[in-house]
């Protein structure tokens, strides 16, 4: 491969849940290499272990076999964004965004400044002292993204972050995320059900098989960086989308 130092690398990674006769092979074995600054999208049928992979990368789960290595000197290099936002109802928007910094014991003055900076970039500056319950779904997810990026993570893990949003809002947030990640160049693992989302955002799209999840195909969307949401109307976009769907359909059909 062209990259001499992968940012993240898995070797023979697998995960099994349960014991004995009730054991379920959820994931792998999986060999995957992610270059620094690369945006990798993973699509696959429900229950194929996509989230399991992300949880292993985030340190929430251990693998059953194999290993996952992250090139970093930090003990907690990753930030994770969840489908149901995972932001706290009992903290204001500012305190939510500051949460990761508070955990890392960043001095309050600096933490506030960084959190406010991210709120401004996400267009949430006017809502700093609001509670999340008063926000719409799109704004909550923006808070979650700001919270993850405020700690300037080396790796960003996103688990179907836009799945709970309506289609219009998804498109808007995809474009915003595209802008953000093209400026920060954070290494990102992005899980989604939406092929369109994967093609718009990803440097690389990986297609996973039904359980136990393995990578069955890999495509690079032929759109140079920096790109914008306009690629959705390109003819190559439609071609790639139907190609990916042909790969995915046999896996998505329930066995």
């Amino acid at each position: 491969m062209g990259e001499p130092h992968p940012k993240l690398e898995t070797t023979d990674l697998s995960r099994t849940f349960g014991r004995g006769s009730a054991a379920v092979d959820a994931l792998g074995p999986l060999d995957l290499t992610v270059a620094p600054g690369e945006f990798v999208c993973i699509v696959g049928p429900s229950g194929c272990g996509k989230s399991t992979l992300l949880r292993i990368a985030g340190g929430l789960l251990r693998p059953s076999t194999g290993e996952l290595a992250i090139r970093t000197s930090s003990p907690r290099p990753a930030a994770m964004i969840f489908q149901d936002y995972g932001i706290y109802d009992w903290k204001t928007v500012l305190a939510n965004v500051r949460f990761g910094l508070d955990i890392q014991r960043v001095p309050r003055r600096e933490a506030n400044a960084r959190a406010r900076d991210w709120l401004a970039r996400m267009g949430l500056a006017d809502f700093a002292s609001a509670y999340p319950a008063t926000l719409s779904g799109g704004m909550r997810q923006r808070v979650a993204i700001a919270r993850a990026l405020a700690v300037e993570p080396e790796i960003l893990l996103m688990d179907e972050p836009f799945a709970a949003l309506d289609a219009q809002l998804r498109t808007i947030l995809q474009d915003e995320l595209l802008d953000l990640t093209q400026t920060t160049r954070t290494t990102t693992l992005f899980i989604t059900h939406s092929l369109e989302e994967a093609i718009v955002l990803g440097d690389r799209v990986l297609v996973m098989s039904a359980r136990p999840g393995r990578i069955i195909a890999e495509r690079r969307p032929p759109f140079p960086r920096p790109r914008s949401g306009d690629v959705r109307s390109a003819p190559e976009f439609t071609t790639l989308k139907s190609e990916l769907w042909e790969l995915l359909r046999p896996e998505a059909v329930p066995a």
Partner: protein
């Protein structure tokens, strides 16, 4: 390529590796050890306390006339059980608890259901019941004695009143918490009130009602023991306080142990019954998960 990767990995300082832990490498063994540890802790902690008590009594650190040794209590309990002295009291207590529990549960469930479904009934009765709820039920015993005279009546009524409030509150809040989507689906199909109850309200509220019923089971035993000491000629509560008055402290402890066993068995039975009645509900993780 593989060798290059291996070489890079030797500078371990710059690489964070997520590896399988003992639980992943030996899942069966780790789980078995964990279970064994939990079980032995559950047995060992009470056992150690009892042994400590035994030791303290044997070494005369405590006065064994006031706190008889566990072995004395066990021997005494065994003798009384074998001689048949214990059973009349156990049976009397059990009868009162079961009768009061049945009455209280049924009444509490019916009223809770009614008040949860009909806001007018709720408006009419809730302030009154809230006021009665905070009155210590034992303070009602004199009233029940006046109403029912001596005998079983006041004891059963007291248990029923106690159980009633627990079941009533949990039923009412459970019914009110049923998501409106459940009712709506039934309503669109044109469900009659009985069909609505049978297919939607009953199963939807049952898990929460059973939690209330289980708490009430423990409290029912608690209340009956207290009331028997005041106004009964038999039963475990009577036995405990009567033997204390006669300085038969070992008999008193036999009574206490019997009450504890009765409480545990009763609330476990309610829990098992609840599990059979609601196979769809998530298991409560409280204790003794199996």
């Amino acid at each position: 390529m593989n060798t290059a990767v291996r070489k890079e990995r030797t500078d371990a300082a710059a690489v964070l590796v997520r590896r399988p832990g003992p639980r992943e490498l030996h899942p069966v063994r780790t789980h078995r050890r964990r279970r064994a540890l939990e079980l032995s802790l559950a047995v060992a902690v009470p056992l150690v306390l009892v042994l400590l008590w035994q030791l303290a009594a044997a070494q005369a650190w405590i006065d064994d006339r006031v706190y008889p040794a566990p072995s004395t209590i066990l021997a005494d309990g065994w003798d009384r059980a074998a001689a048949g002295d214990l059973w009349p009291d156990v049976r009397a207590t059990l009868k009162r608890v079961l009768a009061g529990y049945a009455i209280g549960t049924l009444a509490g469930y019916a009223l809770g259901l009614l008040m949860g479904s009909l806001s007018l009934v709720r408006a009419a009765l809730e302030p009154l019941l809230d006021a009665l709820y905070v009155v210590p039920k034992l303070a009602l015993l004199p009233i029940f004695l006046n109403m029912f005279g001596l005998g079983e009546g006041p004891q059963v009524a007291l248990v029923a009143a106690t159980v009633f409030f627990f079941v009533w509150i949990s039923t009412m809040s459970a019914v009110m918490a049923i998501p409106s989507g459940y009712r709506d689906a039934g309503q669109v199909f044109g469900a009659s009130p009985w069909q609505m109850f049978r297919h939607v309200l009953l199963p939807a509220s049952l898990p929460a009602v059973l939690v209330g019923a289980r708490i009430a089971a423990g409290v029912a035993v608690l209340v009956i023991v207290a009331s028997e000491q005041i106004a009964a000629a038999n039963g475990l509560g009577h036995l405990i306080f009567d033997s204390r008055a006669l300085f038969q402290n070992d008999v008193m402890f036999v009574g206490i142990v019997c009450v504890a066993v009765l409480g545990v068995v009763f609330s476990e039975l309610v829990r098992i019954l609840g599990r059979l009645l609601t196979p769809w509900a998530p298991r409560d993780r409280g204790r003794g998960q199996s």
